[in-house]
Point group: C2
């Protein structure tokens, strides 16, 4: 018998996250190991009266194509996929890779071209109801340093929760952010300030991301000044970038350094003009995620962390930065980190001041 | 190491069958077990400079959706898929099912509704370069009564052949068909005649189907008269229909009977008006296919067989019959079968008269 949590997960994705209704055309992107979840999603979508189409997003196939194709081919936005996405109502991406390192031997400039070609698709997706979620696989468990059973429990522990209750907690922080001009973050090798004046804080209570559990916005593009050290590793198409130091001057990255994967970091920041500016400041609020799992979907929501992303900003938040990339970088705040809103402390010594 | 025949197969599909060229958008439909072939197709398409998008056509997902959905939902042609197909240049369907009986417990009327909803898509696909091929799986080997290794040898034996040489042999028959008005077929419990006057014979030398190996056309819609017995079983969405007897009067099926699966046969013929008329008369010419494998892609090409399909006709052949189905039925001719073109024997005693 299948794990009953798979069907429960599907019901949350379809109903809570994507609000699928009769007549909706639902597009699902998955790799093969996600099929048990996709099957339950198909059943729930069918019950509601929606249609479903499944794109196989198998990295080994993409790798074969990208390796064989010339740069001129990789760099082209696939028109049929674009038309397809324009025509659908809901997009659900199921992360279920069988090898997180499958793209690790593709030359970085090819990955960059490929990512850039996909850029226009994200602008269309942003206008739809969409969700990214994860189905546990051995490869993802391995990256998290866990057995498949323990990782599966970890995933469902963070996913099958009372999203309304978490939303109420996040609303407290979001209300404060809405009234804030200047954010200052201090911590290990970190002293940075930026402005969020007039920008909208957004709560992810399991809608766009499942699990959700963060409050985020897009900072003013020219406002970041100072230095920040991200202690959590970034996984980018199978490459690890670790120990990133960024220095900002008037919103622009003027210096970068990584303890591991400096070349990949340079390539990312060189993608385009917007890749050197912030697209996001996020604060993790999901204390159900107690451990780092080397998976951004979970890591950026982890309680007692903040993250910033270079690259594309959120229009819904008022962000204006444009880029073909959006790379989240995470910093643990529990040990010595502090957040100030307009010079008032909001987070200090591992707690929000109202906790 | 992968079986080198997989890459050879992919090269034939991409180059010989579909003539993929730089800039083409290639859509591949596959289930998970087809991925080794799809990976090689992706590589070859990339090398040529085409783009590739892969739809996961996993029957267990389709089953879950169809079982849960109401008839009104199943009966709707999926618009996003339609738009997608309109936008592509080449469609490749890889048959690689993991269970040929996966759809066997769906009520027949739901299968009929679902097939009918797909009808409009075939009209669009017919305008494209397209190919159906097969990647060997344990389930398909099982249906053929073979080990996976023996079935794999069987598949590549019929597929990786000199298609130009086979084309020359088929041209002899096609030339005769082009000059023929009346076709008469006799054999076990069979005495039927029909007209192909003015219709175009078509040679499949591995283009639309891989393997190919048949010469076929669409008979005049009102011309079939008599009775025919198809001794080879039909597999239709995991249901077996066996020992079909059809009686035609002026092109219309007036009586049908099956030794096994009569209810499914009735449902198929009841799909629509065109489902009771012939859409195809085909003559199998691929003597590399020496055994019946319960797979229509191979069986209809088998040497010493003929087949007829009820349902949708081939416009390219001049056929006018319209239907949401196209169901091939096969008859062995080696034992006592004979084919006459305008009352001259062309096939008799297991041989074409010019052999």
């Amino acid at each position: 018998l299948a794990d009953p949590r798979i069907a429960e997960h599907a019901k949350i994705v379809v109903n809570h996250s994507c609000k699928v209704k009769k007549g909706d055309a639902v597009l699902v992107l998955t790799s093969t190991e996600g099929i048990p979840l996709v099957r339950e999603i198909a059943s729930e979508v069918g019950r509601i009266g929606g249609q479903i189409l499944v794109i196989l997003q198998e990295e080994s196939i993409r790798r074969a194509h990208v390796l064989a194709a010339g740069d001129d081919v990789i760099g082209v936005t696939p028109k049929p996929l674009q038309q397809l996405i324009e025509g659908i109502d809901v997009l659900i991406q199921v992360m279920a890779t069988s090898n997180t390192k499958e793209m690790s031997d593709i030359p970085p400039h090819k990955m960059m071209l490929s990512a850039r070609a996909m850029g226009p698709l994200f602008l269309i997706i942003e206008q739809k109801r969409w969700n990214i979620t994860l189905h546990p696989t051995p490869a993802l468990a391995q990256d998290a340093g866990k057995s498949l059973e323990a990782f599966t429990d970890f995933v469902y522990g963070a996913t099958l929760v009372d999203w309304s209750a978490m939303e109420r907690k996040m609303q407290v922080l979001a209300d404060k952010m809405a009234a804030t001009k200047k954010v200052r973050i201090v911590g290990k090798e970190t002293e940075i300030s930026l402005s969020i004046e007039g920008r909208m804080p957004i709560i992810d209570s399991g809608e766009k991301n499942l699990p959700g559990g963060e409050v985020f916005t897009s900072p003013l593009e020219g406002s970041a000044n100072g230095t920040i050290y991200f202690d959590k590793p970034i996984m980018y198409y199978g490459r690890e970038i670790k120990g990133v130091h960024l220095t900002f001057e008037d919103g622009y990255v003027t210096e970068q350094r990584a303890e591991v994967g400096g070349e990949s970091l340079d390539a990312l920041l060189g993608t385009d003009e917007g890749a050197r500016r912030l697209g996001e400041l996020g604060i993790g609020m999901n204390r159900g995620i107690t451990e780092f799992s080397k998976n951004i979907l979970f890591d950026e929501k982890m309680g007692d962390t903040i993250h910033m992303a270079v690259g594309h900003a959120f229009e819904a938040a008022g962000g204006r930065n444009k880029s073909d990339i959006h790379i989240d970088m995470i910093k643990g705040m529990k040990e010595g980190g502090a957040i100030y809103f307009d010079d008032e402390p909001v987070y200090i010594n591992g707690k929000f001041v109202w906790e």
